[in-house]
Amino acid sequence: MFQQQLVNHLPYLMALDKSKDLESIGYYLSEHLKVAGGYWTINAIACLNKLDEISQEKKQQLSKWLKECQNQDGGFGGNTNHDSHITNTHYAILLSFLLNCELDYEAAAKYVAARQRKDGSFEGDQWGEVDARFSYCGLSSLTLLNKRDLIDVKKAANYIKKCRNFDGSFGGIPDAESHGAYVFCCVGTLYLCEDLSFNIDELSMWIHERQTSKGGLNGRPEKLADVCYSWWMYSALCLLKREQWINQQALENYILECQDSDGGIADRPNNQADVFHTFFGLAALSLLNGDKYQLNPIDPAFALPKSILKNIPGASRFIQP
């Protein structure tokens, strides 16, 4: 099993905005994912400790574009002109810290806080979709912006606890099936709400049982392993101080096997890389064995490099040492 120098993924990442990826129609259909894509790309580069490879000019260009994604209601769309949504608002805030540019945080915080409903849940936008992803975006954004007082933190936690299932794990809404990605959203939210009063051992056992024979984690029983779950669930184990409950070496090996020889990391071995899986693969490796790979550790609660988080006052009491 070969082991690339992870920094070899840098050219893949740097090239992402240059190429319009003419061979893939998918590029044009993902116009609405530009803010998210920016976050995954820049964060991956930061994880490789190569933020300064991006020219000042480029950073300014990106910052200018990012600011234009903010709408009148304070929220951000996935690209300029797109309607606001809590997920894109959250991505924009994260990206702004990576780029070291300032947005109208006051307005953004108001938009995010307005998404909380009476039962503590968060909606994605005014059209009413509710989901634990949005609770996480809400708690993370407002914690980073030091605006937690704008929401009811206790109610937010209570809603998430309703998402817990008999198997000890969490789904996206009450009654939904337990799912690895929602483990991240729910544990992350509860951690930021400072309320981890649920059966942690049961959840950790469920996560433990997600590890497949090849070392990768799947999201639910009988499903295929996927590199992104390495992040979603291993980061949760870190927050719960149960990192030893999975075979860390096997997980590490699996992520390395998912590398694409042309650069980047794919969802599973021998598949095509994409920026989403590249970021989450690198982020998980930074937690599993950051020193060995010379990676900038990504904080498990905020999914930002710790080096950047230490300059954000709102985050300080939540940062894992």
Binding site: K20, L22, E23, S24, I25, Y27, Y28, L29, S30, E31, H32, G77, G78, N81, H82, D83, H85, G124, D125, W127, G128, E129, D131, N165, F166, D167, G168, G171, G172, I173, D175, A176, E177, S178, H179, N199, E202, H208, E209, Q211, R220, P221, E222, K223, D226, Q244, W245, I246, N247, A250, D260, A266, D267, N270, N271, Q272, D274, F276, H277
Partner: protein, 477 residues
């Protein structure tokens, strides 16, 4: 993004690259125009619905397109609704029905290509809610309502069935279907989940929703009060006992047929766990104003479950607090000579809808007991006597548990290299240990011994992390 095989990456000819670039540019130009329309920077197209339908088909994942479409639809709904209210216009009514039907059709077409799109499911949900409102409006005007929301919802269930036939684990569909039952329940959850399980024993999504159905259908306080009338103490179980046994046979069969699947063990584990009794296993600590009781699992809703006496005089309880498996009861400070604690199952005793609940299983199978504490020089001694009436039920559940332990032992015999049944038996031993602590803690060591033996066997067949972990877990006893 997911599942893109590398070997399938096409190498395109120059002509094909050019075509794709053109198509791509077309999309960008269309989006450009769409946003100008959205911001009223150009005139609205004559047919806004047709225009947004085109955009949706071009870029099905862009939420803003649906936001715009919903704004247009809402305007039309409001306008037509107004006409209907004012003049009972048949034409307005017909237009409303057509609008709704074609929207559902459009979303269904798009869902075929994008069955996991949050955007599309959210839009469909929004349409159901609007249909509900419009249906109410029509009914208030005309008793002979032909919109027939119920028929429409039935169609939605049909859609869910078809989509689950194509992908039985699509959680968007399962969630949507679950949500529909809050609008209009047809009470077929039992049938439907059973059908999906019989189609494929490793459909964990079906087991998951089946467990939810059981809890909603059988474990509400009103259900329990009814069951107690005929089944006495076993009525407290979250599932009627014969239903439980029926269901256990079903899952045992599934395990027998597909012992290498994971989900079947999870459901088996849940079924057995959900009916286990819970109660006080230890008096942890006593002070002159508090007593700490340890339960065999975490509990909730504890406030009304205790009575305290000192020298036969009732003590006033000031506060009851839960900390993990412990419950801390504080009372007015005094010299304790002869403390008596009664743990009550209020639902069984008084038919009160409230009682202590075992936190994770939501079970109300709390075993009432009486604790008698005497004080000595340095500490205290106590006896914990389970209410006689309950012993029979505990025995029945224990027998059921033992039968399942035997069953898993048989699976182990057949499946010597399969770690799942080993892990399963260790879970079942955990249940057994909890109940043993309730009845007679002194006999617990035998269970721990047998569990450790199985840990050893697990390590031998697969010396992986889980084996080591379970071994350490059981060693702590």
């Amino acid at each position: 993004m997911h599942g893109q095989s590398k070997s399938r990456t096409e190498t395109l000819s120059e002509e094909e690259i050019k075509q794709r670039a053109e198509k791509g540019q077309q999309i960008l130009d269309s989006l450009d125009y769409f946003f100008k329309v959205r911001k009223n920077q150009v005139n609205q197209p004559e047919d806004q619905l047709a225009f947004s339908e085109l955009m949706a088909k071009l870029c099905p994942e862009i939420a803003t397109i649906y936001n715009y479409r919903r704004e247009v639809l809402q305007t039309k709904f409001d306008h037509l609704g107004g006409l209907l209210t004012e003049s009972k216009s048949i034409d307005a009514y017909k237009q409303l029905v057509k609008l709704i039907q074609s929207e559902f059709m459009l979303i269904a077409i798009l869902l075929k290509q994008h069955p996991k799109s949050y955007t599309l499911w959210t839009h469909r949900q929004w349409m159901v809610l609007r249909s509900q409102e419009i249906d109410q409006l029509i009914s208030s005007i005309n008793q002979d309502n032909q919109l027939k929301l119920i028929e429409a919802i039935k169609q939605e269930y049909e859609l869910c069935s078809k989509m689950l036939d194509r992908d039985e684990r699509n959680f968007h569909v399962w969630n949507y279907r679950n949500w529909l039952s809050s609008i209009c329940a047809f009470g077929r959850e039992d049938e439907f989940t059973k059908k999906k399980i019989e189609q494929n024993f490793s459909n964990f999504s079906a087991y998951h929703f089946r467990s939810k159905f059981f809890m909603k259908n059988y474990n509400q306080p009103e259900n329990i009060i009814e069951r107690i009338k005929t089944d006495k103490i076993l009525g407290l179980l979250p599932l009627p006992f014969d239903r439980l046994k029926e269901e256990t046979e079903l899952i045992q069969q599934a395990i027998y047929i597909q012992p290498k699947e994971h989900g079947v063990y999870l459901y088996h584990r849940w079924l057995i766990g959900v009916v286990q009794p819970f109660g006080v296993t230890k008096v942890e600590k006593i002070s002159n104003d508090s007593v700490t009781l340890q339960f065999n699992r975490a509990v909730t809703n504890v406030e009304n479950s205790f009575e305290l006496f000192n020298n036969e005089n009732a003590l006033k309880i000031i506060n009851v607090r839960v900390e993990g498996n412990n419950v801390i009861i504080t009372f007015e400070e005094q010299q304790l000579n002869n403390l008596k604690v009664r743990i009550l199952n209020q639902i069984y005793k008084n038919g009160a809808l409230d009682t202590m609940i075992s936190e994770d299983e939501f079970s109300k199978f709390l075993i009432p007991s009486e604790i008698d504490v005497t004080f000595e020089n340095e500490g205290f001694k106590y006896t914990n006597t389970i209410q006689q009436e309950f012993l029979g039920a505990i025995h029945d559940i224990n027998k059921y548990l033992d039968e399942n332990i035997e069953f898993i032992k048989q699976v182990i015999e057949e499946e010597k290299e399969n770690r799942f049944p080993y892990i399963q038996i260790l879970y079942l031993f955990q249940f057994k240990l909890r109940t043993q602590k309730l009845i007679d803690a002194s006999k617990s060591s035998e269970i721990v011994k047998e569990a450790l033996e199985h840990c050893d066997k697990l390590k031998k067949i697969q010396n992986d992390h889980q084996a080591q972990f379970l071994f350490e877990f059981w060693s702590q006893f």
